[in-house]
Amino acid sequence: MSNWNQSAMTSDELRIVKDATCTFCGCVCDDIDLHVRGTKIEKAQRACVLGTAWFLNHEIEDGPSCLIEGKPASVEEGIERSAQILAGARYPLIYGLSDTTSESQRVAVAIADWIGGNVDTTSSVCHGPSGMAVQGVGEVTCTLGEVRNRGDFIMFWGANPAESHPRHFTRYSLMPKGMFVPNGRKDRTCVVVDVRKTKSARAADLFLQIKPRADFEALWTLRALVRGIDLDAQQVEHETGQPLSVWQDLAERMKAARFGVVFFGMGLTMTRGKHANTEALLALARDLNKYTRFTVKPNRGHGNVTGADNVVAWRTGFPFGVNLGRGYPRFNPGEYTASDILGRGEADAALILASDPLANFHQQARAHLQSIPYIALDPKETPTTRHATVAFHVAAYGINVPGTVYRMDDVPIPLRPAFESPHPSDYTILTGIERRVRQLLHAK
């Protein structure tokens, strides 16, 4: 806060920040040119509609950096109150992490470790089931660079990047002219499988509309066909909503691809079957490697949710849903995941980092969070910050603070911020809380 260079920030001179990184979605586009005047980004060249909204809506907001029970307080007072809450809790929860730098994520996990709490990320309500499936059957993976240069069969299953990752098609998966797909879109076949005709479906060569909640059946149909197993045509159509001949054609196309990739979204992980759906898809991709090179990738949503998985895994050995209460990490989705801990009314305190469970969680979880003392860190006012015992207004990652984020294909990318914020970074707050928590625990 103290090193904020006010004169540079109030200057009217136009500055261009080249190759800035957009952290709104998991595409993490790092080719954005920002036109910055003072503390306002006037233009975000090459950003999509979501990226533009992200960059252009981060003006410096007046107001305190910290509120305790809704009243302005100093950052130091906020850190003290936060540390008292966390060090005194019996079953605390540290949750969120996906919309900040990996440097901050690391400190959040450290706090959970010191206080013997639970640490969970927004992965658990996004691609957590995919993480469970990966543990079960493994993952044949690749980078987005490989998709761009090699992918000639691109499939989206329960994913709608046209709305959620608008530059996915143009930057990575469909349009680019790559080393082995020199004619770009013409060299690629695009298939979309979904329960409704999304915007992405309109960009596909082939759209398969399946019955709602029939992903598991559809994926096992494909697995059987790829293995050469005969199936009952009537049953297949009844259960999946598409005739057997359509699945046979698709299985043959997949086997004939030179480099296939399936991007999957929350249509698989949030629907009945969850990790069993994803497991079926990961196993299908693995099976296809008997015939050709075939890969599968979760279409990760938040800017650094992939970093959250990585950091929690480095620190604890597990990607999300970890309890550190016994002094060693235990992983159990359904037990140590935020939605369950809050829904069952177990947590007695929480630290919510860069996420908004009061806007996204089910009713019991929201009601419980509102009934316990919790700390929230966010660059914006959200339903979660409004109800927090201690709310920190922090600088935005990628816009005001540097650091590292992981693209959806696990490639780490540095941030190039546009201007400084008078508000502290969440890293500063978290390291302050960690330091004070350690002192309090030591004194006990």
Binding site: L50, H58, V125, M132, M270, K274, G334
Partner: protein
């Protein structure tokens, strides 16, 4: 008269922009409080754009305005709503040991709210 539908909450570009603009702003609030219904279902139920319906799931009940889905975006029997407070109120808390509540493909009862109600 109530009828069972399958509700798909999901992401839209406008909802995504609304997150950056601020969740208390018009864009986010309007987008996350609007239910898309297949045109054929709208006609069959005698619904017009802007009419309100009551949705009930085992987890909760909400009232929302409806609009007809464009072209053939939605098959009959399916409803779509951008993620937000309304969709959360209908989502159950049971994660079936996965950490993830079933958040898409929810069975809901739809009941048109008549103007005289």
């Amino acid at each position: 008269m109530t009828e069972t539908f399958v509700l798909i909450p999901g992401r839209t570009a406008r909802q995504g922009c609304g997150i950056s603009e601020g969740k208390f702003g018009d864009n986010y609030q309007q987008e996350t409080n609007l239910l898309l219904v297949a045109a054929a279902d709208m006609e069959r139920l005698g619904l017009q754009d802007g009419d309100r319906v009551r949705l009930t799931s085992p987890a909760g009940q909400v009232e929302v305005p409806v609009t007809a889905a464009k072209r053939d975006d939605l098959p009959a029997g399916l409803l779509f709503i951008p993620y937000g407070d309304v969709s959360c109120r209908l989502m159950g808390g049971d994660t079936h040991g996965s950490g993830m509540p079933t958040s898409k493909g929810l069975d809901v009862q739809l009941e048109p709210i008549r103007h005289d109600q």
